[in-house]
């Protein structure tokens, strides 16, 4: 039964090939069936595999399915093998199920778009690559999946390629993540150099034995992989691509830039946690990066006008939380938050897509309003999503996951109170921006009439995701720890946490989240004039502009990297090496222009030429 594992990535890839080759000739319904059906079957198989795995765990809690040997050198085989353990199982369940719901949603969302088959082909390729990434037992296979998701991200962000700005956004995403990818590749080479194998399990077993804690090689390797993770997961300093990636269709933003691809970095660090445990410096770095990112992104999310950009910055911020958890060693907390985040962020994006369609493709929240009565069901699910995002106490999944992270930040041996404070401030800001979104969009006066009501295929995923956003957290209550015990074979037994201070911290977190909601209510529903007054103050106005531009990272990179690069390009366009080549061409032309004068077309001239030749030859013969 576990042998069905290979079908889980294979089906979406087969769907991709079929749609890529023949999609344009199929009717739209066939494309939808193939595209969604492949993911649906994958989800079904994932559930079956999960049931089998949980009920009948394989030996060592790892199931390895080797497909074939890819290459062999020095007796070291590089195999195409999928390895399934608790971590991968969680990942494939989330990816396939959330992916299936998003595909279902897109069948209706993208119905009238040109390139329907292309969309599903790329989405299938994406899901296939992501599944390869999380199931990979070898670094090379992991890298293939890594590159595959990067490629699909580029293809899907630039899906509406006729608008050049979309192409620019896609290129920006690809290039920025590429910086991280190079780091990761060098890290893979480094590990291979020292351990002479690409197999992830073997490296993870050999690393603590060979490298001391804090050895420079371990730090280097960990840093390189961290670079890869930062790029893909859009953390500081490589976070600049994600807000612009909202140029793609909303289902793409939901799947790739909320639920799955951006969490690949989190998965990578979790998978290689052994490596990071022997490089504590890097782990601290992860935590700091996470904390900084979550604050920066939360500030930026508070002042955005485009509804999708708010969600983009929110994603960056929430992944910052996951990095924070990874940095303090709370591996299960990070994966738990990944799972709940996948649910509520996908929900928010899909609901935002409903709103955008209903408001005739309008993205600016301040141009919307009053949708509470016009779109009641989307309103309810949106509020559920926002509540989960804000970690509304006790009733939402987000509360439990964020709580777990904050507790770990306080209690973990590598955590610190400072990180906890950063997390709390972030939670405060999160609830502000989340409910700011709700109040501006759904309350007030309706400005644009409804142009499209969502149908069955768009509503159903919303309901299912809303359900999980509420009830998905109950598997990891602070007392029961079902989730982390499930992950314990991978990460080790979760450390005992003192119970006494826990309640206070949880209460503090809940208070913060509720007060954020109240503040948003105050500023945007009850007393909107306060918000106006804030904007009048010059300091706050310029602060707002600063946050709006993403803390001016784009401008910084433009000054620091882009302009010098273009300067170098311009200067080297006609440098001395080019002069050699243009010089050859110029010389050629000059010689031609001069030699062509001997072609006069005049018969006597040619006869003269013959005579001169004869004279010269005879002369040479005589002189010798």
């Amino acid at each position: 039964m576990l042998n069905l594992l290979v079908l889980i990535p294979a089906l979406p890839l087969a769907g991709f090939i079929l749609l890529a080759l023949r999609g344009r000739q199929f009717p739209a319904a066939a494309n939808a069936w193939i595209g969604t059906g492949s993911i649906g079957l994958s989800a079904l198989f994932s559930i079956m595999v999960a049931i089998n795995f949980v009920g009948n765990p394989p030996e060592g809690n790892v199931f390895i399915q080797t497909l074939w040997t890819w290459m062999q050198f020095d007796g070291n085989p590089v195999t195409l093998s999928f390895s399934l353990d608790s971590l991968s199982l969680i990942m494939i369940l989330v990816i396939t199920m959330v992916g299936f719901l998003i595909h279902l949603y897109s069948t209706e969302f993208m119905r009238n778009e040109e390139g329907y088959s292309r969309f599903f082909a790329f989405m299938n390729l994406f899901v296939g690559s992501m599944l390869i990434l999380v199931l990979a037992g070898d670094f090379l296979l992991l890298y293939i999946g890594w590159e595959g998701v990067g490629l699909c991200s580029y293809l899907l962000i630039g899906f509406w390629y006729r608008d050049k700005d979309n192409g620019k956004a896609a290129r920006k995403a690809f290039i920025v993540t590429r910086i991280g990818d190079v780091g990761m590749l060098i890290g893979i080479f480094l590990l291979f150099l020292h351990f002479e194998t690409f197999n992830i399990q073997s490296v993870m077993q050999a690393a603590p034995k060979t490298w001391q804690i804090g050895s420079s090689l371990a730090i280097l390797a960990a840093f390189l992989f961290l670079l890869g993770a930062i790029g893909k997961s859009a953390q500081v300093p490589l976070q600049v691509w994600l807000p612009d990636a909202m140029a793609g269709p909303t289902p793409v933003s939901a799947l790739i830039h909320a639920a799955t691809m951006v969490t690949a970095g989190v998965y990578l660090i979790a998978r290689l946690h052994v490596l990071f445990e022997i490089a504590p410096v890097i782990q601290t770095m992860i935590a700091i990066i996470g904390a900084v990112t979550l604050l920066i992104a939360a500030c930026s999310a508070m002042v955005q006008r485009d509804i999708k950009r708010v969600l983009a910055y929110s994603t960056i911020s929430q992944i910052g939380y996951m990095f924070l958890a990874l940095g303090v060693g709370a591996w299960s907390a990070a994966i738990f938050h990944f799972m709940t985040h996948a649910f509520f962020k996908a929900l928010l994006f899909l609901a935002a897509g409903v709103v955008i369609l209903a408001q005739n493709h309008e993205h600016d929240m301040f141009n919307m309003g009053g949708l509470r009565s016009l779109l009641p069901l989307p309103f309810v699910v949106f509020v559920i999503g926002a509540a989960s995002l804000s970690a509304l106490p006790l009733v939402t999944a987000g509360f439990y996951s964020k709580d777990f992270i904050l507790l770990s930040a306080w209690y973990s041996p590598s955590g610190s109170a400072l990180l906890w404070v950063a997390g709390i401030i972030g939670a405060f800001l999160t609830s502000i921006y989340a409910f700011r979104m709700v109040f501006i969009t759904f309350f007030g006066v309706s400005k644009i009439p409804i142009s499209h009501r969502p149908g069955f295929f768009m509503i159903t995923p919303l309901i299912i995701l809303a359900f999980f956003s509420i009830f998905g957290g109950y598997i990891e209550l602070p007392e029961t720890h079902h989730f982390s015990s499930f992950l314990s074979p991978v990460f080790g037994i979760p450390g005992e946490q003192p119970i006494n201070g826990e309640g206070v911290l949880e209460f503090g977190a809940s208070l913060v989240s509720l007060s954020g909601i109240f503040l948003a209510l105050l500023f945007y529903v009850l007393r909107p004039e306060y918000a106006g007054a804030f904007r009048e103050v010059p300091f706050f106005a310029s602060l707002g502009t600063f946050w709006f531009s993403g803390w001016k990272f784009d401008a910084l990179y433009d000054r620091l990297l882009v302009r010098p690069f273009f300067l170098i390009v311009r200067k080297s366009k006609n440098d001395f090496i080019d002069a050699v080549y243009t010089g050859i061409a110029y010389l050629n032309r000059a010689i031609h222009n001069n030699l062509v004068r001997t072609q006069t077309g005049n018969l006597r001239w040619y006869a003269m030429g013959i005579t001169v030749g004869a004279v010269v030859f005879l002369g040479i013969l005589l002189v010798r």
Binding site: T600, G601, L603, R604
Partner: protein, 103 residues
Amino acid sequence: MMASVPLEHGLILSGILFALGLTGVLIRKNIVFMLMSVEIMLNAAGLAFVTAGARWNQPDGQIMFMFILAMAAAEVSVGLALVVQLYHSFKTLNADAASIMKG
């Protein structure tokens, strides 16, 4: 009683005639005159052959001359036909007029 002229004198004569013919080709613009000068050159070459053959008392020189003669006949007929065509096309016998192949 045949002549007993040194071979070199015959060749010198042939050389002079050849050079004169070459000069004629180079300095005349009229196609017909150029063809005539070519005939002079051919004749001079034939003279050289015959002289050389006669020096060794062999018929080979005369045979070469005959081939040259045949070739000259064929060349003149075709060349004059071309001259007539040229005159029809360009209305002039100036050799410089037919320089479309320049450049």
